[in-house]
Symmetry: C2
Subunit: 356 residues, 2 copies
């Protein structure tokens, strides 16, 4: 059944309508500044308005959903960190001490932490959203990471949690994740959807050395050879070599597009999730803001696939949603320009000549 429900979700996604573009642009051009001089801040405002279908939107409440999951493929020695760091970091998120907590507080975004596939039985703990589909994926060098039903269930869980966050008032969502080893499935999916080799799209993740990088590339190659994932079957590819948090992010992206809300996609892992969403429903691209240029090799190829230009580049590679919350704040800056700046008439400022 989850696969049928997912199909319904995917088919309810429509491209963003651009009918309001001229009205929005006219307002931007009437603000007390040279035309276009606020560059991409103006682009962010215009996209925000068109996505939401409103020419005078409110400033949205911001939320980041951090999906956590484990990876059977860590058995192959592809990460600089041991697997237990996933659940340890979940506790860190809940206590407010992680990078995402600090940056979300800084920009005024709510953090929601979702256990979608951590290999750990948590005691009931304040603030943790339990959507565990399984205790981690299986080792994709030996068997599919998930069944199709599990992959679909995880996507739907992500979509439902996004839906819930929007019902609770969030008007713009950001993607976040935690999962030791998850650059490996993200690289595998990138190879599939970008039709590139593992060498081209695989990087050092949290910081592995040359030998471990070779191992990682071999592991990915082994998974791809075993399952032959097909870009035209995104759910199958996700099930074969993906991860639960990646599936959750895919669902979040789909859900935002269904609800006509912007979604700010973080770095390499998050963008892999967004790629699965775009492979299922190409129109989701219209709703995506790519937060930043990640250091992780392969991210550029992902952004090309999604036709996105990132908001900023601060050499970040942490994940968790850290880039996405900072980008949400810059998108909000653009929206505030659109909503709060004086017009030439209103401020009695002489407009410039038309020679622009």
């Amino acid at each position: 059944m989850p696969e049928k429900e997912l199909s319904g979700l995917v088919h309810s996604i429509k491209p963003v309508e651009t009918i309001m573009h001229d009205e929005i642009q006219a307002h931007l051009d009437n603000l007390t500044k040279p035309r276009g001089s606020l560059g991409r801040l103006e682009e962010f405002a215009a996209r925000y308005c068109m996505i939401t279908g409103r020419t005078r939107p409110d400033i949205p409440a911001k939320a980041v959903l951090v999906f956590a999951g484990d990876h059977g493929v860590t058995e192959e020695g592809i990460s600089a960190f041991p697997k237990e760091v996933t659940f340890q970091m979940v506790h860190n998120f809940l206590q407010g001490g992680a990078g995402i907590n600090v940056l979300a507080r800084h920009v005024g975004a709510r953090v929601k932490v979702v256990d979608i596939g951590v290999d750990h039985e948590f005691e009931p703990v304040e603030g943790l959203i339990d959507r565990k589909v399984a205790r981690g994926t299986r080792n994709f060098t030996r068997e599919p990471a998930m069944s199709r039903a599990q992959a679909a269930e995880a996507i739907l869980a992500g979509a439902q949690e996004a839906e819930k966050a929007m019902n609770e008032g969030a008007g713009i969502l950001a993607t976040g994740e935690m999962g030791i080893g998850n650059t490996t499935p993200a690289s595998a999916l990138t190879a599939v959807f970008c039709n590139m080799s593992p060498e081209e799209v695989t990087g050092r993740g949290t910081g592995i050395d040359d030998d471990a990088l070779k191992t990682k590339i071999n592991v990915i190659q082994k998974g791809l050879s075993l399952h032959s994932p097909d870009a035209s079957d995104p759910l199958g590819a996700l099930a074969a070599v993906g991860g639960y948090e990646i599936a959750g992010i895919c669902g979040l992206v789909l859900s935002c597009a269904v609800r006509r809300r912007p979604v700010v996609v973080d770095g390499f892992i998050s963008t892999a999730g967004a790629m699965v969403a775009a492979a299922l429903a190409p129109a989701v691209r219209d709703y995506i803001f790519a937060a930043h240029q990640s250091v992780e090799q392969g991210h550029r190829a992902q952004l090309r696939f999604l036709e996105q230009r990132p908001v900023f580049d601060l050499d970040m590679r942490l994940g968790e949603g850290t880039g996405a919350v900072l980008a949400m704040n810059l998108i909000e800056a653009g929206l505030r320009i659109y909503l709060e700046m004086a017009t030439f008439d209103g401020a009695q400022v002489t407009p410039g000549s038309e020679a622009v």
Copy 2:
């Protein structure tokens, strides 16, 4: 006398000491994230600590000083906007309707507006700081823009206003400016200090067409031919082809370096002011954060001169300090990471292997 006082200011500037670097880096590496994974946010935090000489600094109050001045060279038809827009925009700043007001509110920065050379007699008006040196510069195609004494007086005015803002509690300052026509003196100064031709460093400012761009380049060439400004005499170059707001920004940058406070330098005009400061006192480079990559041609050469890599690039070219206040917020994000993130020990998270 102002020239002597300026010399005293310049000679009290010392390079930033790096003695605390290892202690700062050790703390950054002990936070619950892979080493270096927050990229430039970590760099911002480390620089902030070293500049202020404190390993556990407080989060600083933020202020942007917007210097406004007019330019005699506008007689030559080098701007898309008429000169009266300078004083009209000053009113807009004071009423809170300009781009800088919106973005400063967004990031929680105070805006201080300084009339340092506007060609307009303001009625006494709440909030406007009167440091007018003259009613605009003179047309540098015919005579020096200012006398040396006026240039020095304007630099000192900028330095004193920065000092005042810091005494009122600001711990990080941003540069801002307003002055119709001011990309012309900024381009002229860039040509002087970068030893480049006017063609190479002159752009379209607020938005002029091809003919006006040719005029602008010719005007700059005429000024440079008439005065032969010399990069080894920064005050003389500033007086010959500069502007009062550019001088004020130069003073602000010097003052921050004297007080060991970081200064966030906005786009093309502001960076011209920072170049004058760096030509007077090379060590000011240590205290500068370049906010963003401006669209304006010539900005890259300026940043090379100052040895700066900008914080972000959003295709902006408005000035006023709009890029600088957004950058202040990202620098603060880095500082919050440094101050607020949990350590591996504190959060009971297993550190990664050393293979980084």
